[in-house]
Symmetry: C2
Subunit: 331 residues, 2 copies
């Protein structure tokens, strides 16, 4: 995939004149930046992917609508941009007003969580192209008051890693997750042992929106790097800074739901950490002496549950020493 996408990107290099905006290269991030006069705009785009198949099985569509906004604005947050607006694209096989209304309610929740606006949308009914429903969106953000994008370039050994818990699986790893459900013939409408909510509801829980706490700390000089742990799990950290080691030696207790899935699916710990967020959805890389101020601001803006999860060390890649795991990158 990466190869095909880079072929597409390489082949499509433009040569735009400066009076059409000046793109700012930003390796290692999902957000693209362009300077337009005095304003720098950030854009991200992503789709909910196969989580919609679970929404379909359960006939619940609000959650994936909220995901659609959250996954895109969280990628904006990962460069320190503040979310301004979202455009959505629903590609489906047939019109379905009640379903669209539920997706719309979810989009509304996502917009309120990210405090941004819906700028437009497209609904394409193309049964010749799709059999399911694909939910995609683009988010547009900016850097208020002369804020400098947080790129990860200032990350250095000694920095601390502060993690904000996830709300569940977010919108990643659903192909593996569905395989476990199907092979185990697991009922979605029953709760897991010891739980009250049906399993399907737990699995669908929408992606946590990290924009407000991250916006509150993006101007702090000691904030060196920001990462949204989406597809690829902890490996997302490597993109921020390939020349150091991210030593995750204080990873919090992995939530019950992930451990249940691992157990039911007989999945290796390695595969779990490279596929799912394992309980931490967003990571901030912070200079040691800025940690207390960052934690205090996070606590005031909805992320009182943020915790230190490790440090930056000399070396390369990602280490989870207590689990004996190492990742060098996405391969």
């Amino acid at each position: 995939m990466t190869e095909a996408l880079s072929a597409l990107l390489r082949a499509s290099r433009g040569t735009a004149p400066a009076d059409h905006g000046v793109p700012i290269p930003l390796p290692g991030h999902f957000a693209g930046l362009i300077r337009i006069g005095p304003t720098t705009i950030a854009a991200t785009t992503d789709t909910v992917g196969t989580k919609v198949l679970l929404a379909d099985r359960l006939g619940r569509w609000e959650e994936v609508g909220e995901d659609l906004v959250a996954i895109n604005v969280n990628d904006l947050a990962a460069v320190g941009a503040r979310a301004a607006g979202v455009v959505d694209t629903v590609v489906c096989a047939r019109p379905d007003p009640p379903r669209f209304a539920a997706i719309g309610r979810g989009i509304g929740r996502g917009l309120r969580a990210a405090r941004c606006s819906l700028l437009g949308g497209e609904t394409a009914v193309v049964p010749d192209l799709v059999h399911g429903i694909d939910l995609g969106a683009t988010a547009i953000g900016f850097f208020p008051g002369g804020r400098v994008p947080v790129t990860g370039r200032r990350i250095r050994p000694g920095d601390r890693l502060v993690g904000i818990p996830s709300s569940g699986f977010h919108a990643n790893g659903f192909t593996l997750l569905r395989r476990v459900l199907d092979e185990g013939r697991i009922h979605l409408r029953r709760p897991r042992p010891g739980q009250r909510a049906p399993l399907g509801v737990e699995l669908l829980r929408p992606t946590r929106t990290y924009t407000e706490p991250v916006d509150a700390v993006a101007d702090v000089p000691g904030v060196h790097g920001l990462a949204h742990l989406s597809g690829g799990g902890v490996r997302n950290l490597v993109r921020l800074a390939p020349q150091v080691e991210f030593r995750l030696d204080r990873w919090p207790r992995v939530p019950d739901l992930f451990r249940w899935l691992q157990d039911r699916g007989g999945i290796s710990t390695r595969e779990m950490f490279q596929t799912f967020n394992m309980g931490v959805g967003f990571v901030l890389v912070v200079a040691p002496r800025a940690v207390p101020a960052v934690q205090a601001r996070l606590a005031r803006t909805g992320a009182a549950d943020a915790v230190e999860i490790g440090t930056v060390a000399p070396g390369r890649g990602i280490a989870l020493p207590e689990l004996g795991l190492r990742f060098d990158g996405y391969s």
Copy 2:
């Protein structure tokens, strides 16, 4: 469709605070606007739709790649915004590097024609959701040097309609078009009588990019309205100004290719004009005394073929008097 989409939009209204950007309502347009500090940003989103099925039959993918940029930047041009950047989303059933590279080359052509940059992209391989390939994109534009968005609000009886020819079917009406091809068992690799290019190549010809000539006139005070004739054909004009009649009494000779399709498909003239662009892809609504200056600027920026096609009159809807046709709107 419109109903389902509006349900979605209604349900998803946010209440974003002003320090996250201020959306500017723009009824009747596909572009959404938001003011971010001193800069107003426009965003459009659209997909190529079922034209990709023709690309697939012919194994030619550059044209639809170019369409993907053109259809979106032309919607930016329809509010007078200058294109800055595009993000693309390819949703498909399997990775296919040569195909992606061809789409990428087409996107590159589109970007060069619109003089803007690729800001990012997403390629989702989701065989559980799609069987074909869906090409979507979002374009981001702006209003240089204090330019005011062209909304259509200043359109009044007496204004002239200046049309810029299309390059063919662009990316609209392909479901009807494919029906005619299938029912008539028409060969795509053979030319039509009297032509040299294979029919398939004629049908695939990429959407003309109108951004440069439109950008050159968007600051002229007499330019009251701009319309990109995409899905819905001439009816796109109604969205600009519901309180006047668009009197298309000088529509240029309909290109041969459209007349051939109408003939082979036994399609009514009414259906042709409400489905296809019929040879005119972009319309400018211009105060009479500004017409010579507008035409001169269009001629200098690649649209020397622009011609007057009608006038604005008191009344409502769209009239093609020579053909005895009237449209009141999209219904």
